[in-house]
Amino acid sequence: MTDQRCPMCGKPSPEDQDTCQFCGARLKPLTASTPVDSQPIHPGERPTKRDTAEFEKVRQADPGSIPAGEAPTRKNTAELEQALPAWLRTIREGEHANQSSEEESPGASLPLERKPAAAAIPDWLSGLNQAAEKNEEVPDWLSGLRPETSDQEAAQPVDAEREMPNDPASTEWMSRLGQEVRGETPDKKPTAPLPSAEPSSPGAGLPDWMQALAPAAQPEPAPGGELPDWLGASASDGMQELEWPSNAPEQIPDPASASRPAMSVPDETPADPAAGSIQAWLSDLPSVPPTSEDAPALPAEGVPSWIDQLRDKAIDPRQGQDPREADPAADWRPPAEPAKEPTRPIAEAGMPDWIAKLKPQTGGEQPGNAAVFDGGQDQPGSQAGETPDWLSNLKADVNAHQEEEAGLEQFEVAEAAPERKETGPLPDWLAGIQRPAEPAEGTPALISDAGSEPAEGRGAAFAMEAPDWLSKLKPEQEEEAAGKEPSEAARHDLESAELPSWVQAMRPVASVMDETKSLPQGQQEVEQSGPLAGLRGVLPASPGLGALRKPPAYTAKLQVSDGQQRYANFLERLVANEGDARNVSTRKSESGRIWRWAISGLLILVLAAALLLGGAVEPTSLQPSDQGAASTILAGLPQGASILAAFDYDPALSGELEAVAAPIFDQLLSNGARLTLVSTSPTGPLLVERFLKYTPLVNVHQVQSGIDANNLGYLAGGPAGIQSFADNPRLYFTSLKTPEGTNVWDTPPLAGIHSLADFTAVIILTDNADTARSWIEQAGPYLGDKPMLLIVSAQAEPMIRPYFDAGQIAGMVTGLADAKVYEQAYGRPGLAQVYWNPLSYGILTVEVFLLFGGMWSLLASLRERTNRPRKGS
């Protein structure tokens, strides 16, 4: 059993359930039993053009049901009948009538040519044959015509053409109809537009008189030869009195065969015939003689031949056989039910017999179509007198004819449908009729009440205006309907029905159920946002706005390329690792330490050896760096000259400067010069004391403080102090006293000294070029023409040379070399002589090291250069 989808949650549920097993929503509408995928037509709405492929959706849950608009299976000609255009139907009806007339009893001589049964017989009668042979249950719409009398209707003969009211109240119109029929002109065409179908509930939306005619599960036995007067009168006139279409076939088939296809009414078509058309054909209908015992016979003399044919067909021995089995070519027809019981005449008081006979009969499976006029079927449970004999006979005839006629002309249309489908001349809606018999969900043609069995609706009413669906009504189907829930049968029929668009347009507005979920489940949009998210078929908030949507979420992510992202990541890692302490490799360079030890050890050894061994010092041929300018100046100093000497060097290089300054100061002291000693370094005064006391060549003079030299001490202020001292030396050292307590300015070294220019010469001893520059820059302008001599270390000589070259200083004594020269010149060896040999050996050693290291580096670079291409290759 196929499942049906819940319109709310979309989950599948068994088809036999009314409510969803997951969410509890109702699966079957109360007002109409249209399937979920049915598409109701709203007032003023234009019918939608549907693809015939949708016919596949027509499901046939019950093989006995005949859903209207079903894919033209060969089993259900009633459905095809509905789908066929009117002109085609008339043709088929005419053919069917002609064939039936050949086989049936002589009494079945229809006055009118109904060879193309589909064209001659009105639509509502065209499917009578089918309905008689069908084993399907009465369509829901038909069974729903009389939902409260489902059992009664099931016993009624299945009315393939129309649903006959069963209650006395509904017989009034029938009686009126009979009267009108007698007075109708034969020119009127019996054709009537097919009403809209409601397959789910056979009786839903139908008038009361239609609802009373519930399709019968079994074709009711044809009533025994009782026809209403009006029908009998018309039968005596023959079929010629009947107004058939102009293209009516020559031969009018027997009623059973003619009505079977021609009166095949889809289940969806509700029995709502037009009164005018009903009147027309009723007036022309001959009386239908009763057939066999199963089918109540109709009076032969007053029954048109086609009716007789219908009756004969109803008692066809193949009643119990599925017309689909008997007629393989008739696959398009709805599945025929077993042999139907002849319809029983309507025996209710006040109701015409033929109407009463049209009541659906209860019972088991009945073969053939559930034709309304299935007179050949016996309905045990049907109400007696509910269906006229002629009608039941018609039904039986229809069933019988359908069973034996495998390639009836009335089925040509149906048979041709697949051909047309293959070749393509037929429209899509017709081409799709030959789709597989497995019905899919489709738009039900008939909206019937929930719970109404298709079999119940069949045969319940005699719908003059809806021949196709009426043909589906079979007496045997009523029995099935009786055993089923009405909603189930109606649901089966109505759910599987698929209406063409032109049929939908004819559906009455009232019959359209308020089914909001009319779209197929798959076609309905699922709500994406809002509180109804996930639901299907939700009405839009307002027309034209469509579904609510969330505003587009723009990503805030920066759009960067891969390369930019890599750079950003690299930068991020750098910043993150900035605060991380790096593990510095503590591995010492072993080779560097060894080389340092080696070099230092060797150098110390050389120097020590040179110092220990001594040796003769070769006289130097070098010239002083200043070309003897300092010596000249020194030589020109008078006796007792006041010399200002600034000791501005660091204790680290005191050994060099002491060695360099010793011969100069020896010369000066030898000439009786009075020294004024000052220092801009805090350690200067101490170095002055050391120089005067411990330096060879100087210490021999035993300089006395206050007599030979005055140590002014520390000259604070840096350049500013120099400039201040140079401007007014006395002011700077105002209260300076000697260790004896005497004012230094009163001592002989500083006697008559008021400014810097009062000094005979200024000698600057420094190892720093900046200090020398400061003295030169600050004190130089205050000297006048007094010479300034610089005794500098070898490291400061390159920076001070420009001043000597510029004439800002009178002379320079640089390093140990000049000291040796001066010692040699003065003939007084000093430290320079002592240090000269070690110095020479030391320089020689370092030169060897430099040479060796340079050559090693050169060879290494050459080797690396040669090896590089080799590694690369």
Binding site: L612, P682, L816
Partner: protein, 234 residues
């Protein structure tokens, strides 16, 4: 007094030990070296502090302030005040008070430095650089008194060195498809400047080395002399 206990010996011994401690740095950083360094720094700082007090603060600030005339006292108030303000820099809360003294010091120092640099270096050096002898005098002095020629050559050499060195430190280049490139003349001048710079650095290194070697010789000589005189002490 035994000679071994003489101050000279102790001084010599102490000097000998400290020298060895300093020379121990050859084997790496060690506590002996650190002790010697710390001693040197400490003694230097202490001696400097004593000198600053005895030779600057006391005689130049407090003595005039205490025993000087009114004028002398008035004059010493200003440096005293500035000194106190400079001491305010020690505290975070009063540091802004010492900004005045700092500003005075910076201002005076800058003035002296700039004036001396301009008047004592820039102008004389420039004058000495441009005061080249004429070509005629230079050629005339050739063979006799090479002073002018030598000076001229020296001047040209100095000019070449100066210009080439400045060109070497010119890092601007012209943008070309192959990359930034300098002109040919600039490249040649840069190369010459590199030569002069390299020679200058070499001379400076040599001077430093000689000075350091001389100092080392002096220390080794001291060690040797102490070692040789040590047996005589006992």
């Amino acid at each position: 007094m035994p000679a071994i206990l003489s101050l000279d010996f102790l001084t010599g011994l102490f000097s000998f030990l400290l020298t060895l401690m300093i020379l121990s740095y050859l084997i790496g950083d060690n506590p002996a070296f650190r002790i010697a360094v710390y001693l040197f720094v400490g003694v230097s700082a202490g001696y400097a502090a004593v000198i600053a007090w005895h030779q600057v603060l006391w005689p130049m600030l407090f003595v005039p302030l205490l025993t000087g005339t009114f004028g002398e006292r008035l004059l010493t108030v200003i440096p005293l005040l500035l000194g106190v303000m400079l001491l305010m820099k020690l505290s975070h809360h009063t540091t802004r008070i010492g900004n005045v003294a700092i500003a005075f010091l910076v201002g005076v120092g800058a003035a002296v430095a700039v004036g001396g640099a301009v008047l004592g270096t820039l102008f004389p050096q420039t004058a000495a650089a441009v005061n080249l002898p004429s070509l005629g005098d230079a050629f005339a002095s050739l063979g006799t008194d090479n002073t002018a020629s030598v000076r001229l050559i020296k001047g040209l050499f100095i000019l070449l060195g100066t210009v080439s060195t400045l060109i070497y430190f010119q890092f601007s280049a012209k943008a070309t498809p192959a990359g930034p490139r300098q002109g040919k003349l600039v490249q040649i001048g840069s190369w010459v400047g590199q030569v002069f710079i390299a020679i200058t650095f070499g001379v400076l290194f040599a001077g430093v080395f000689v000075a350091a070697l001389t100092a080392m010789i002096e220390r080794i000589n001291s060690l040797v002399q102490f070692t040789t005189q040590l047996p005589t002490l006992f």
